[in-house]
Symmetry: C2
């Protein structure tokens, strides 16, 4: 694990948030100013493969990344795009029982308007 990868992972674990690659770059550069965006993407992909990080694919915006990988789903504000955690609303097992077929995973996103956006 390179120094760059360590910094990227520690940014993602520093708080419960769901930053984009750009936001990760900004924060990581505070500790490693020469870090390149390509390196961030490369390491995010590697970290996802190792299951240390979860990617949250966004429909009309840059993907977000989550440093907390216990199963949970996401609540997405349709106005500001911010992502919140919610407890798992599905399980692989329940899906397999319902579909009577092996399931590799699922992606559930619930859309709402966050309180901040609701008050303008």
């Amino acid at each position: 694990m390179s120094r760059q990868r360590e910094v990227i992972l520690s940014v993602l674990r520093s708080q419960r948030f769901h930053p984009t690659a750009d936001e990760i770059l900004l924060r990581a550069r505070q500790r490693m100013p020469a870090l390149a965006l390509g390196t961030v993407y490369r390491n995010l992909k590697a970290l996802c493969d190792e299951k240390l990080v979860r990617r949250i694919p966004m429909e009309d915006a840059p993907d977000r990344y989550d440093g907390f990988v216990e199963p949970h789903d996401h609540l997405v504000c349709t106005s500001c795009g911010k992502v919140y955690d919610i407890p798992s609303l599905q399980t692989k097992e329940a899906l397999e029982a319902k579909l009577e077929a092996p399931v590799e995973g699922y992606e559930l996103k619930v859309y709402f308007t966050c309180p901040k956006c609701k008050n303008q």
Copy 2:
């Protein structure tokens, strides 16, 4: 509704499939050879706004479109990318009850390997 939009909608309603914008263009051009890809995208967006068509955002591939808009979810093959319909596994109402907040919608995709891909 322009002739172009009619053709695009009828392609989407001609069978239960989930084509990309490119695939829609190919089929629509059989009836309207000069049709432009930009026009396909423009009309798909309009049809989605009118709730006549549903967009299926794909994580690592071009988005797909669905001409059947009754609530249902999707099963996605991680190998070939083909999309299958499944009955709704969630309802807006159930989500709102669980989350105790108004919900605008949800997007659930279940990943599996389709039988064809499983046999190589």
